[in-house]
Symmetry: C2
Subunit: 405 residues, 2 copies
């Protein structure tokens, strides 16, 4: 076998994520491993818990990492909360809402869906009405759906849910760190995320936070696994959690003071998650959100000046990604491939009804940056010209620079 070390080509990842990682995060991952029960490891894990409490803006004791991609965090939340037959309500406004539906169905839940057209979000009253009618155990909602670039307003959700006692679960993968997010302030019970969007790290670790009320629901289903169970450990009164790997009751014990053995911690991803949070908090959450807003605005001004039409309800767009209609006559996938091949810049297409109809351009994490925005606009202008549209020479860059002032 003559394979050499992998040498990735130089890329500027300006799609909907994953995006180029902050080199400091990659550097943090090159630190050597330590043992799972090393005192230094315990300290590192406790620091990670504290860091993510700040990132999630939550006082939840139960704040830690699930060892998998953001999708693992979603499934861990739903499979740990939902027993077969439990009612769950999912407001779907893009592909990742469908993913919540899919996962909840596999949990055996009784899944109720409300829909809006892609490119729009729900009015709080629409969700409140559905909650009154369905009376779900769990209301599961995506914050920002990168498929459509929309962000569902969540600040009023808890009051919309009112006295229904529903637990609120939110997938904040696409928004956390680049848009306002207040777990406790908004009354959300469980939030999960990933590193590969505004946090500027690689996919493979899913930060999660769990309110005391949700933790109690999960803990009632706790079963210590065969091989570790002691005499005196109770069997749960509720149906056990269908997954062992994504069993949050066990993972809480693993991260908690008892440090009960579960999986073997993915230490390099732990280091990455720690560094992502540390850099974000070092910058300041508000400053990071403002940075995403600024560079997002610059990108939007730029693409509009290149003659591209933005997609969806702009009042509810995430700061960190914009979708633009592929101009008539432009072969979208060829143009995207040319941008990659000639300039090393990646942008995305979308899913379902938007596949082949829009491009998605991200400005997030490490790439929510002046030079990344201007370089993308300069290259996009060249590609648009090559594929027969007639963009104003220098228009995209100039419009972005005007935003920067």
């Amino acid at each position: 076998m003559m394979t050499g070390p992998f040498a990735p080509p130089p890329r500027l990842l300006m799609g909907p994520g994953p995006i180029t990682a902050d080199p400091r995060v990659l550097r943090a991952m090159s630190a050597q491993l330590i043992g799972q029960y090393d005192p230094a490891m315990t300290e590192c894990m406790n620091e990670v818990m504290a860091l993510y409490r700040a990132v999630f803006r939550s006082a939840n004791e139960q704040t830690f990492l699930v060892d998998g991609t953001s999708r693992a965090g979603i499934e861990a939340a739903l499979v740990s909360l939902l027993e077969p037959g439990d009612r769950v309500l999912v407001p779907v406004f893009g592909r990742f809402g469908h993913l919540l539906v899919e996962i909840a169905r596999r949990c055996g839940a009784d899944v109720h869906v409300i829909d809006v057209e892609w490119g729009r979000v729900f009015e709080p009253e629409q969700i409140a009405a559905a909650v009154r009618s369905v009376r779900p155990k769990v209301l599961a909602v995506v914050h920002g759906d990168t498929a459509t670039t929309m962000a569902q307003p969540l600040a009023d959700l808890a009051s919309a849910v009112g006295d229904s006692d529903a637990l609120l679960y939110c997938d904040a993968t696409a928004t956390l760190g680049g848009n306002d997010f207040a777990t406790d302030g908004w009354g959300i019970d469980v939030v999960s995320a990933g590193l590969q969007k505004c946090l500027g790290g690689p996919s493979g670790s899913a930060p999660i936070t769990i309110s005391p009320r949700a933790a109690e629901v999960i803990t009632a289903r706790r079963r210590i696994e065969a091989g570790l169970r002691d005499i005196g450990d109770d069997e749960p009164a509720r149906p056990p959690i269908a997954s062992n790997y994504l069993d949050l009751a066990q993972i809480m014990e693993y991260w908690g003071p008892r440090r009960l053995n579960h999986h073997t911690e993915a230490t390099s991803m732990l280091y990455a998650a720690r560094e992502c949070a540390r850099l974000l908090l070092d910058e300041g959450l508000d400053a990071a959100v403002a940075r995403h807003a600024l560079h997002g605005r610059a990108m939007v001004a730029g693409v509009q000046a290149l003659g591209l039409q933005v997609f969806g309800d702009q009042r509810h767009r995430m700061a960190n990604v914009v979708a633009v209609h592929i101009p008539d006559g432009v072969p979208g996938e060829q143009a995207r491939a040319a941008l990659l091949a000639d300039f090393g810049i990646e942008i995305g297409t979308s899913f379902g009804p938007l596949h082949g109809r829009v491009w998605r351009i991200g400005t997030m994490g490490y790439n929510a940056r002046h030079d990344a925005v201007l370089m993308t606009l300069a290259a996009l202008e060249q590609v648009l010209r090559a594929y027969g549209t007639n963009p104003l020479p220098g228009g995209g860059v100039a419009a972005a620079k005007e935003v920067y002032g």
Copy 2:
């Protein structure tokens, strides 16, 4: 928040795993990310598939990574193969056999167990008799159980199973790369592993290989997820797989030519897995197995010369880890802590009936090395003396050096 970058203390991890990673693997992880559908990423993923076919000694097309720790690979295999009510037979000879039982039960399977005392393995005829009596759909067995250091002989398993049609699943996390393992030669249908043992990488990626027969069983349960389903995609005839994240039918489509979107690949862990396999194959599988045998023998000779008594049936011990009885009067956990605090060397204790009774000392992956073995023996001699045993001065190191010749 005043937290600085994480600076792990220097450690030599000589326990049952995770062990010190090969620095070349950590370096591979510091490569910058590329997009999920970048042609260079497709090429990298295809290379990883080819590399792991060689590592598993298998021609299985379906050979790839599950994005999680080795436990995620186990659960992916079992949840994808087992439908509720399916019979599964698990021969348990240590803690990780109990884990297979635990996971299979959560799949809703009808789980049948045979046991041997910890420290022993099964005769092939014991397993064959149980297969004849249970007639399981799946026979699930751990190859090497680090809890006891035993490795179940698997070469005769397929013939023991005979004409029963049972699918063979094996957890090879602890042994792969450091002990003979022949997926196709031994007729095993599904094998999963991790990087953190003999492969010399961090935990967080689970290589897996799936025979055509097992792939067919899994594919019959395939359901394309909501949000990606096209008109014309069939609903499965069989009960769907209970997990979305660990659904091997979907993950096969993600790694296959269709490249159907599933999770966001954990790219840095992919880089790590690639480098682990590349380094192992560059050394040569036979050479790596011989290296583990040599350094394992040296460690055993050394600990015996220090007056320690090895645990379990030595004819069936894994090459890469040995358990020794904690001498009478020695406070096992204090001695282990002293070894870590004074010498930076980590060894392990064990689980269940062996907790506090044995130490487990590994020589695997990057640490299956002359200097790592001698340093461990030298430090262990000091600690044993400090805790009141009377080891022969220099005896451990001398005995190991005699093995090295």
